[in-house]
């Protein structure tokens, strides 16, 4: 499974993307492992009060987890995970 990072998360991870090989049955497991790996610079844009930060988008093969199960979404069969910190523009 490929995990891609954008905007401030590239600065937190110093990566654009990586192949994720650890067991990750769901988004919660993946995010917890990423927080453990990259620490506060990553966590502050992704987690809030133990849940997914409402402005943060995690896309599983292009589908946003918000409103579809959030951290409980299964990663089975997912090829690409895109993680965006809070963004705006227009």
């Amino acid at each position: 499974m490929k995990v891609r990072y954008f905007a401030l998360l590239r600065e937190a991870t110093h990566k654009r993307e990586e192949e994720w090989t650890r067991p990750a049955p769901d988004v919660r497991t993946l995010v917890n492992d990423l927080v453990a790996l990259y620490g506060e610079p990553f966590a502050k844009w992704v987690m809030k009060d133990g849940d997914l930060y409402g402005f943060t988008a995690i896309l599983l093969d292009g589908k946003d987890v918000r409103g579809r199960g959030g951290l409980d979404c299964s990663l089975e069969g997912v090829a690409e995970v895109d993680i965006f910190p809070p963004l705006a523009g227009g």
Partner: protein, 601 residues
Amino acid sequence: MNGWMGKILRVDLGSGKISTERLDPKTARDYLGARGLGTKIMWDEVDPNVDPLSPENKLIFAPGPFSGTFAPSSGRYDVVTKGPLTGTIAASNSGGSFGAELKFAGWDAVILEGKAAKPTWLSIVDDVVELRDASRLWGKDVPETTEALYAEASEDSKVACIGPAGERMVLFASIMNEMQRAAGRTGVGAVMGSKNLKAIVVRGSKGVKVADKDAFVAACGEASRKIKEHPVGGTGLRLYGTNVLVNILNSIGGLPTNNFQTGHFANADMVGGETLAANQLQRPRGCFACIISCGRGTKVTNPKYKGEGEGPEYETAWGFGPDCGIDDLDAVIKANYICNELGLDTISMGGTVACAVEMFDKGIITLEDTEGLDLRSGNAEAMVEAVRLTGIGEGFGKKLALGSYRLASLYGHPEMSMTAKKQEMPAYEPRAVQGIGLNYATNNRGGCHVRGYTISPEVLGVPVKYDKDATEGKPELVAMFQNLTGAIDSSGACLFTTFGIGADDYAAMLTALTGVKYTGDDFVKCGERVWNLERLWNNRSGFTAADDAIPERLTTVPMPTGPSKGAVSHVKEMMPHYYAVRGWDAEGRPTPEKLAELELA
């Protein structure tokens, strides 16, 4: 008056008569200023069936009550007229400091009417207003014109001018202020060119009076705090600019690619905000009183596209990038610089080139038609040259200057123009995001994102996340965003302040500033009033429900590739409910009851 200066400047370019009028307090209260005030003046004074490029059309520059104050990010003003690209009422919003300077000179609006006999520029120094000969400036680009006027007037002046594109009445010509800020959309620069007006130069020495200084300081402080503490208003926009959206739109399959043939571009990251920040970005730039600084001061060192200036915004990067099949950010930025220098709207320019590229790829136009321009998808050098030719009115550029609808129609394929009401749609695929398509279709100035930016909840989750694929609730969402934006535009505030504050915050600042009591609902009601007056104008100029549409491709052809594969836009299905939410009849006309409610009867 407090907040407003209380005066309107009227300039008859034909006779040279210059006069001053009082701003009616009720008009100010009901329409605020900027877009709202300009629309009210157009409604009162101009026949909606006027030829946009005739002397009978009027061109109105108007700041809002917040302009010139320290309300956070309040550096906006509007140019209102009948737009030559769309035939609709047109208002184009710009930043910088020009709007604030108009207030400092003592004016809530400048109404320009008639046509000057020869190239002219307008000098405004407080109450001293003069028309001056601009013959020596005609033909000069925006930086040359601006520098010349700084030298002749004062370095402290603020200059709004047209470039060669406006002089030639390119239908999507912009008005540029302080060289880099654009009143870009709908062709307001062509109207200025049709009046032989090259520039307005303004310098003021007054201040904006405040009704309750302590309350205004408190309300502005609270609003500033909320914006700064918001993760996007306070951090993200400054670091990456609006172009940070390229990747998320691409990841959901909503980045229009190759003239909206699909919604996913493999090399999108190469033209995104992260790449820009790592390579060409010199520093963030902000408008008057801005605490966000989304502007991009950039520099390109690649000899082929060398230059320095501002941009690109997201829409620009998309239009000259993925929409033309191009992944060369240096070329994209160069096209942006040329638009700024020659005075062209980057969105319509990009969308028009993209349309030509699709026609070229499909053999509808050939090298003979393009006079040798190899417009195949992905050819960055040809794209940049197409932009330059449009601005200077040479070669195939003369046809590109018509915009994509008229261009595609020339070759028998209007369906390849990705427009709503003949204005090029921006950078969000309606098949991938349902609400934004409804906003495009119903927008009073044609294909436009900023007047109903449902991308914020539908994609970004700000203030809360909506399901982008759902249609339920979207008519309500679109109408709400359109109304709120109508009020924000009319106030002189920047739309990006919504990434932090809401209607109650604007109302608190406005009440303290003007002394007129506004609630949040009152504020939004002003926007709804403006929206409905624009609608009435458009209906009177011949627009009907049939014009509330987006290209058939988006409602009938399933997205062919990417994460949104298989999706179509459901604009047609949502439209009846949108009209009902609006209080309009089945033909999209405001009902007498709605007009009475808004004091428009």
